[in-house]
Amino acid sequence: MASCLLFYAWQHFECIQIRYHIEQLNSQRIQASELNQQLHLEVATLRAPKRVDAIASRLGLTVPVPGQVPPPDGLGEPVLAQARGMASTAQAIRP
């Protein structure tokens, strides 16, 4: 009977210790999650276009002018809506 009582007491306190440990791990998990969110926020702040633009300007970089960045599909044939309209316009007015 004494040994049963002792065993009961031991497992009771062991449960409490395990609960402490679980709670500790839970806290670590929450802290890691919060740190993850803070780092996401920090990344978003560091990648802000205004900040990047300011750094680029300090380094002497500017917005590329047209033609400086090659298009992915190469230069297409120029198509002007006006070109199609010119022929019909020429008919309406005197040469």
């Binding site: 803070q38 978003a44 276009p49 205004k50 033609g67 316009t89």
Partner: protein, 684 residues
């Protein structure tokens, strides 16, 4: 005798032991059986604590998944008055850390009957200092704080939250129900040292995340160029809107002035307004696109028909209306290109008020677009039954009607995409952790037929190539657009002001298979106020950057007179001497740089040199038809000849630099015919 004494002593000891045990057992039984409830409640009160878990507000992303608004958990300090024995001491200690008067803290603690919040959302350093004090009855609870890592970027679209994390303005307000989530509850058990060793949790439901149609980079381009334009023109306010004409999604909505939603309370209310949806204005000549579309769709006219613009004045129901310039005979194409009010009014008169009204309604004018932003203004379009006899003249040139930037850009996008009006949208997706929430898809309807849209696109291209939109011409892309210079109403007199204008330009590029529609609107620029002069260059700068970012292939060759920075300062080969600097060419180079920078202030330097592809339009006044034709042929210009006699008017004007192959329209008349001085009207 001696044998009875030890037995008596043992008996006494046993009796005392039994009595002692009986007392102990009796006391234990009394405590366990009769006082159980009372002590259990005390233990629970000491050990257990129940918190409300504030839900994490949903994150707002741009279309590429970049965070625009996030919520971070932060510690708030609470005090349990039942656990605090010396409220005064606790208040004095916390006062130094929280920068709150000790008296206020003490009053709060004493007056509370349950845990009370002392300070919200503290920094980690402050939390650590309080924690180190190890004050009984003071504890922390997580509460979420809304943060906007991009600060002012898209602030008017995002909105902001109040101290209770309730959305105010923008998407934070309109989707507050979906974003805010539902709170949970947590019960924790703590030991004597306040270490938790058990918890029971009913988890909070986090809010749904929202993915906007906005692109962070395009938004920044629009905001940067708008800020430059405001600085250059000293305008009171402005807006730039970038839209995908094929879907109606808004890719960028810039407002000026704007604010930092991290500190929204520091800004006045009008700064927090989203002008793109809330501020209605008279569109002026940009509205002529709708006038022309209606007329062409109903077979009233065609781009080649000649219209007598009566040298710049017309009387409509007793009201005299002047053009900004006196024009004679113009083709319908040139009426739009030169923004002739007289020509537009004549076309509208032929269309008739009822049909004109129907056309306008088809383009969404005077109606809510249904965009997912609060405070949308439906603008003003009076029912046709309430039009006065002169209203048709006013509406034809964009007066007596008011629109928001969102409305006008959506109407122009319908022309750009072949005739389908797509309702503008700013929310791309709403999603929870497990699924996507249903979101009403973009609504659309046919506003005009494809053939009419193509014709009007061609006419709008002429506006940029030859008309009032020359400053909006893009390098490497075809573009179509329309400028607008609308007189504002003077609130003092109730009449149109002669000094305050809204200068706007709306256009799309490339002309065929448009990738973007862009509207630039500047309110009350100082000095130059023409839409083509003031907003056109802004359109050019924004469009070129946007099209490059979207990797839209060039559909026309990039002009060779635009030199890259590398070509201007070529790196000498190793061992080669640097060529001697020619002072004259250096001077002309610097002058060219300065001229170009003045013309394109605020943008990346685009260096232009004298080049065989560029010609200067000569003065053709007084020349015969034959001479003009020969001159055009020699210069590589395409002549558009109207009338008989000698040249009395030309477009573009002499001195204008154009590319070879550009169109030159010349009107002929009687020798000595004078070109009258410019008159007023709604303008270009």
């Amino acid at each position: 005798m001696e044998q009875r004494n030890p037995r008596l002593r043992w008996l006494v000891v046993w009796v005392l032991a039994v009595v002692w045990m009986a007392v102990v057992v009796g006391r234990l039984s009394y405590l366990q059986l009769f006082c159980y409830s009372e002590y259990f409640a005390k233990a629970q009160h000491q050990q257990q604590r129940t918190f409300e878990i504030s839900p994490k507000r949903g994150t707002i992303y741009d279309r590429k998944g970049r965070e625009l608004a996030v919520s971070l958990p932060m510690d708030s300090a609470f005090a349990d008055p039942t656990d605090i024995t010396d409220a005064g001491m606790v208040a004095r200690l916390l006062s130094r850390v929280l920068n709150i008067p000790a008296d206020d803290l003490e009053t709060k603690i004493r007056q509370a009957h349950s845990p009370v919040r002392l300070a919200k959302k503290l920094s980690p350093q402050t939390v650590q200092r309080i924690d180190d004090m190890n004050l009984r009855g003071v504890f922390f609870q997580k509460e979420n704080r809304r943060m906007y890592p991009q600060r002012e970027l898209a602030a008017n679209i995002l909105g902001y939250v109040d101290v209770d994390e309730k959305g105010i303005g923008g998407i934070e307000y309109s989707l507050d129900k979906q974003i805010r989530g539902r709170p949970g509850r947590m019960m924790v058990v703590a030991d004597g040292r306040r270490h938790w060793y058990d918890r029971t949790e009913s988890a909070a439901d986090p809010g749904a995340s929202v993915v906007l149609s906005i692109d962070q980079t395009l938004q920044y381009i629009a905001e940067k160029e708008l800020a430059h334009a405001i600085q250059d023109t000293h305008a009171k306010s402005g807006a730039i809107v970038i839209q995908d004409p094929n879907t109606g999604e808004l890719l960028g909505v810039a407002n000026y002035p704007t604010f930092d939603p991290n500190d929204a309370g520091s800004y006045p209310d009008d700064v927090r307004t989203d002008r793109a949806v809330s501020a209605a204005y008279e569109p002026g000549s940009t509205f002529k696109v709708i006038t022309m579309t209606g007329a062409i769709e109903n077979g009233i006219t065609n781009p080649n028909e000649l219209i007598d613009c009566q040298m710049g004045s017309i009387v409509v129901a007793g009201r005299l209306i002047h053009d900004h310039k006196p024009y004679g005979i113009l083709s319908v194409r040139d009426v739009l290109a030169n923004s002739s009010d007289v020509g537009s009014i004549k076309i509208a008169l032929r269309l008739g008020a009822p049909k004109f009204y129907d056309v306008i309604r088809q383009f969404g004018i005077g109606q809510l677009t249904g965009i997912e932003l609060p405070g949308e203004n439906r603008g003003l379009l009076r029912p046709v039954e309430n039009w006065t006899p002169s209203s048709i003249g006013s509406v034809a040139m964009g007066q007596e009607v008011s629109v928001t930037p969102i409305q006008i850009i959506s109407a122009i996008s319908a022309v750009a995409n072949g005739g389908t009006y797509n309702h503008p949208r700013i929310v791309h997706q709403i999603r929870t952790e497990t699924s996507d929430l249903p979101h009403a898809g973009a609504d659309s309807h046919k506003s005009t037929d494809a053939r009419t849209a193509a014709t009007v696109r061609s006419m709008m291209e002429t506006v940029i190539l030859e008309g009032t939109g020359k400053h909006a011409k893009l390098d490497g892309y075809t573009a179509a657009g329309k400028s607008g210079t609308a007189q504002k109403i003077d609130p003092a007199t109730g009449r149109y002001s002669k000094t305050d204008y809204v200068a706007s330009f709306v256009g799309f590029a490339p002309v065929n298979d448009a990738a973007v529609t862009i509207l630039v609107m500047l309110d009350s620029p100082v000095g130059a106020h023409g839409g083509g002069d003031v907003s056109g260059p802004v359109f050019k700068r924004v469009a070129e950057q946007v099209l490059a970012y979207l990797d839209v292939p060039h559909d026309v060759p990039v002009p060779t007179n635009i030199e890259t920075a590398k070509n201007i300062h070529p790196v000498p080969r190793s061992g080669a001497q640097k060529p001697p600097v020619d002072e004259k060419s250096k001077e002309s180079f610097e002058a060219a740089v300065a001229n170009k920078k003045r013309a394109q202030s605020g943008s990346a330097p685009t260096i232009a040199f004298e080049d065989a592809a560029v010609v200067v339009v000569p003065n053709l006044a007084g020349q015969t038809v034959r001479a003009v034709s020969e001159t055009c042929s020699r210069l590589g210009l395409v002549p558009g000849l109207i009338g008989n006699g000698v040249a009395v008017e030309q477009s573009p004007e002499s001195g204008t630099r154009v590319l070879r192959g550009s169109r030159l329209t010349v009107r002929f008349g009687r020798q000595g015919e004078l070109v009258p001085a410019a008159a007023h009207g709604s303008g270009n």
